[in-house]
């Protein structure tokens, strides 16, 4: 058995990115089937257009002029690297090259995918051209990839020719950027011991060997003196509500349906309260000093999680004296 517990976590969100007018102009061009750069103050044509001039720092197009320059759909590879094993969300699902392509009329290269079957078919100095995506929406992926110029010679079969009209009008002002990150969350050895005990129906804290405070869950570093908590202390299933809030607000990713009471419960024998749910009484009846006890889920539903305790419920005892929890507020 591993010393520590771990579990997967996925953090995913579709971010809505405002492009601003300059990157918006570039993406609008892609949607309309043209590649647009901008002439900077030092006379170079840069693709994509920079939002601010690298020399004068002025906003591109901010002086009312038209700095935008349409560049060719064909260009020259200035450098490249082979990708033998593409990963999820890359432009191609088969081996390809990342290439720096200086488009005709531009002075600096653009990074994009180059669709060739093997590294033998890629070379610095080779001529390539844009292969447009079948459906263009105003995103960098409107360029599906680059392809060798020879590949389409004599026909328009690759889609590299005159792009079709799009049905969307107006400038592009935003893009959606989905992000999804997969992590493995690892609990500390001290927390792992706590969750394993929870899986046996026991609540186990640990005492800090220096300051003597009982932490639940236990800590790999006591916040007061930095030492791991060590001596196990079996804690009661009863405790006191120190303070709490009633969550009435729904939000994205919420796991419990509001309204619910999120309360700090100070278990008898512990020196720190932890957050849990209070149920089995109306939310408005929950109060500071209320005595509560753990209500466990059916044993067959248990795992190594605090969620084995479904919630805390009032014991019906008289309230705890304020002095017993005032230092926990």
């Amino acid at each position: 058995m591993s010393r520590t517990l771990s579990a997967p976590v996925t953090v995913a969100f579709d971010y809505t990115r405002s492009t601003g007018p300059v990157i918006g102009r570039f993406l609008t061009g892609l949607r309309d089937g043209v590649v647009v750069g901008a002439r900077t103050s030092d006379g170079r044509v840069v693709v994509p257009p920079p939002e601010f001039d690298p020399v004068t720092h002025r906003a591109t197009g901010g002086d009312g002029g038209d700095p935008y320059v349409e560049v060719g759909p064909e260009g020259t590879v200035t450098s490249w690297v082979w990708v033998p094993e593409p990963v999820k969300a890359q432009p191609l699902d088969r081996p390809f090259a990342w290439a720096l392509v200086t488009l005709d009329g531009a002075d600096v290269p653009l990074l994009h995918a180059l669709d060739v079957a093997s590294p033998d078919e890629a070379s610095t100095g080779m001529r390539v051209r844009v292969r447009w995506a079948a459906e263009r929406v105003g995103a960098i992926t409107d360029i599906a990839c680059f392809e060798p110029v020879e590949a389409g010679s004599g026909g328009l079969a690759t889609g590299a020719g005159a792009p079709s009209a799009t049905t969307v009008d107006g400038p592009v002002t935003g893009v959606v950027t989905p992000v999804s990150l997969d992590y493995v969350y690892a609990a500390s050895p001290e927390e792992s011991a706590f969750y394993r005990a929870i899986a046996e129906g026991r609540i186990v804290g640990q005492r800090c060997p220096h300051c003597g405070k009982v932490y639940v869950p236990p800590r790999s570093a006591c916040p007061a003196d930095g030492t791991p908590t060590t001596d196990e202390v079996e804690l009661s299933e009863t405790g006191t509500v120190t303070t709490f809030c009633i969550v009435n607000v729904p939000f994205l990713g919420q796991r419990i349906t509001p309204p619910y009471v999120s309360a700090y419960v100070l278990l008898d024998g512990a020196d720190i309260a932890f957050l849990h749910l209070i149920l089995d009484c109306p939310a408005e009846d929950v109060h500071m000093g209320m005595r509560v006890k753990a209500v466990w889920k059916p044993r067959e539903e248990w795992g190594t999680t605090i969620e084995n305790i479904s919630h805390f419920a009032p014991t019906g005892e008289p309230d705890a004296d304020y002095e017993t929890y005032r230092n926990h507020l």
Binding site: V9, T173, C245, R255, L275, E307, R326
Partner: protein, 387 residues
Amino acid sequence: MAKTPAAVIGVGQTHHRARRDDVSMAGLCREAMDRALEDAGLTLDEVDAIVVGKAPDLFEGVMMPELFLAEALGAAGKPLLRVHTAGSVGGSTAIVASSLVQAGVHQTVLTVAYEKQSESNAMWALSVPVPFNMPVHAGAGGYFAPHVRSYIRRSGAPTHIGAVVAAKDRTNALKNPYAHLHNEGTTVESVLASQMLWDPIRYDETCPSSDGACALVIAAEDVAARSADPAWIHGTVMRSEATTAAERDQVNPQASRDAAAYLWKQAGITSPIDEIDAAEIYVPFSWFEPMWLESLGFAAEGEGWKLTEAGETAMDGRIPVNCSGGVLSSNPIGASGMLRFGEAALQVRGRAGEHQVDGARRALGHAYGGGSQFFAMWVVGSEKPTG
């Protein structure tokens, strides 16, 4: 070795809004930066270093945005630093920038902080469930509401005090053209009638979600001497503490008290309420005004709410707090701390416009972040510090 005297000679901010769809992150930062540079009468070429701050990367989903922002921020060929201290980051970022000047490393430093909350959802980003733990977290409001309840219990404050703060700050915001919320007619009664979100915190007692940026130009004595109205830095402080610890005081954290004591000592202040003319205090939820008044030493423990209730924190009170409308009226999280620092500078420069406190000579800028665990503060004054 003594610190080099340093001053804020330029302050710039964006018009804060729920959505600034018209600009990118770089454009948002440059809007604030260009205003700060214009105020200082300088160009980007005359700046020696750039210090940037923003709140956690999950808010916009861009890891290390300083990488892609470097050129737009004019940092090519210059030192570029990023500062991270959660919600207090705008304050910490300004202090890092001022430290570079006070230490004699640079003459002129531009610092900028921003958040573009419309690109994501901070409530989601602050509530990602952690395996094995109880999924009861509910954003910043859910985190702070129990501690507000603790304050009410400990101080015996009447329950309408939070509404007094909210009505005052929202009314002050009407005098600040940059503020996000311009809610005419906000009263104690209207705040009390708003929806209870995280009991005991109501909707109108909660900061908005904003896009915005703030920038400051901080310069050494020689450069600042050319400014008509520098805001001299009289003291800076940062302190941190553990997020959770046995018997940790989340209402009046030790780090906050220690930071304030050290700040007042540096600035030669013995009675903050008598010697500070305007305070910009980080109040994202209304009850934090009386809480921080006590922690900062403007009032004795348990007495902060009495200043609020008596109107002493209004613009014409003994200690005007958040004349700009504060975090309750504009909350581009990463920039919110720097806005407090910048508004304090505007007050002592006499440049706060309609929300100017007459004759303000010394002002406090304050920020906190994380689970009340990071603190950043400064005192600025119209006179160069002595000694």
